[in-house]
Subunit: 305 residues, 2 copies
């Protein structure tokens, strides 16, 4: 999609081979991981570079798919060993899931390295990895305009101090409602967001799954709607897709303001809603700019008063 | 608020003395019931008449409160015996609750009667009572412009046929997400709504508690936001307050169109958000038109893209 030289957004995260069971279907060794979803989503808007690691068993066609999206792969490390694997099963509601197994494999020794070409990127998305690695990335960048970190309950529980350090160094923290409550020991989401903003980031996005998200920032509160899909096939990676599309749209539209941020979050919701209609990156692989624009207009009309 | 002659909206439902326990407080014999909340909410917009029943033990100050709201009470039956009582306890999340006891008392023999003055009312809200009673009300009205029915899982389970008859005779069915799924045996809410619209009503509102609601109608889908309150004191009656304010606003603004409907639902969300900030009708009793307008503008800004 973009020239290799033009990396506007850099995304760091996990790459996994996912085995996923839903009430309707079981699929094995699917391409997954936060950075796969987020880079694919960002690629619709701007030049995006991937920082991650795969093992020597990584599938050629998955590598081809990254290239099809136009993702810059200079930051992708290919090392001896097995790729990270995750397997999980979704409940009947297709929302709650249980992890069946996690094999870290090459991800266990992962140390993200920013290629020199990436260091001047203006937009950095720190996907959900250990806070220590997120800090390591922050130490390698020049002066990005906008840095977003995602996180999860695991890091809140086992690496809170490092996570707090990350939170103090980013412009936006993105997390889901239960994580926001766990992190702040508050219940009401407006209070959670206030507490987090006092820790550093100008913006906080609290995700509520199929109920959308809330943006808390200097311009007040924005209720991000979720696009109501007819049927969810696989919700894995929806949050990463949401974040990636948001970053891509911000970069494409020249920076962060209240207006660009609201539109960027709506784009995040739109691309994520397409993504959950199929397993892995299957739907994103066939998605067009027109599909995005059509659903964006539809979603905008659904919230117009 | 309005002259007794000018009853634009008629609301039928239950009146109860509620004993409510939250994680923070227990309150006894509070004024409750669907018609209390809905009439109070509608009274901010237009003349509203109440159809319900209380026993001889009903508190004088509650009757005075109805009058303070300007509610027309000609349809309120006061009969020998004890008033309906309900008690429940809320979980820590203040969303899920458990019913501890229900005493039907005078409500058991309730037969709603529309005073002649009410029969030409243009807006009818059938609060959550037995479908047979809702049908009995429909048999007593002339040619209302807009009839809305609320319902609950109990009636879906024990009186489905009568409920289906009600649904076939109203313009809007309002119910929550789990009820919509139970009624239609579908999971995705857009499919639930399609199924219900095929049963008769032009409009379906599916309520999702603190996540807002969805309006399905001839002009497409509208995602109704919930106003994010700082702290919920008592969520009892929020759905009834929402419905009452919606009806009042529609009546005040001269009828049903896509534009008036969207604004009316936002007003519903706003008045309901005030209502949950205190027990019973306590917050509504001190609410002003200015409070409503302020929060309406705030909520509208929270969804603007």
């Amino acid at each position: 999609m973009s020239e290799a030289e033009n990396v506007q957004v850099v995304i760091v995260g996990s790459i996994g081979l996912d085995t996923i069971e839903t009430p309707f279907e079981k699929r094995e060794e699917l391409l997954g991981g936060s950075v796969s979803y987020a880079c694919a989503a960002a690629s619709f808007y701007t030049g995006v570079g991937m920082v991650g690691v795969v093992g020597s068993d990584f599938h050629d066609d998955y590598m081809a798919l990254y290239k099809q999206f136009g993702i810059d792969l200079e930051g992708l490390q290919c090392v001896e060993g097995r790729t990270f694997r995750w397997s999980g099963v979704y409940d009947a509601d297709m929302i709650n899931r249980k992890t069946l197994s996690t094999e870290l494999n090459v991800f266990e020794q992962f140390m993200p390295v920013m290629p020199p070409r990436y260091r001047a990127a203006r937009y950095i998305l720190l996907g959900n990895i250990a806070p220590e690695l997120q800090l390591h990335v922050l130490d390698q960048v020049d002066a990005p305009e906008f840095v977003v970190a995602d996180t999860m309950d695991l890091w809140i529980n086992i690496a809170r101090d490092k996570l707090v350090e990350v939170i103090g160094r980013v412009d936006m923290l993105m997390l889901n409602d239960s994580e926001a409550r766990l992190l702040t020991d508050q219940y009401h989401l407006r209070r959670c967001a206030e507490t987090i903003r006092a820790m550093g980031p100008e913006y906080v996005v609290i995700k509520k799954g199929e109920h959308g998200a809330m943006l808390f920032g200097p311009d007040g509160l924005f209720l991000v709607p979720a696009y109501p899909v007819d049927a969810v096939t696989d919700p894995t990676g929806a949050g990463d897709t949401f974040a990636g599309a948001m970053m891509g749209h911000l970069a494409q539209n020249g920076g962060v303001s209240d207006g660009t941020m609201r539109a960027a979050l709506l784009h995040g919701a739109v691309v994520a809603s397409h993504g959950v209609e199929a397993f892995s990156l299957d739907r994103l692989a066939s998605l067009t700019a027109e599909d995005i624009d059509t659903r964006f207009a539809e979603l905008k009309a659904m919230v117009a008063v």
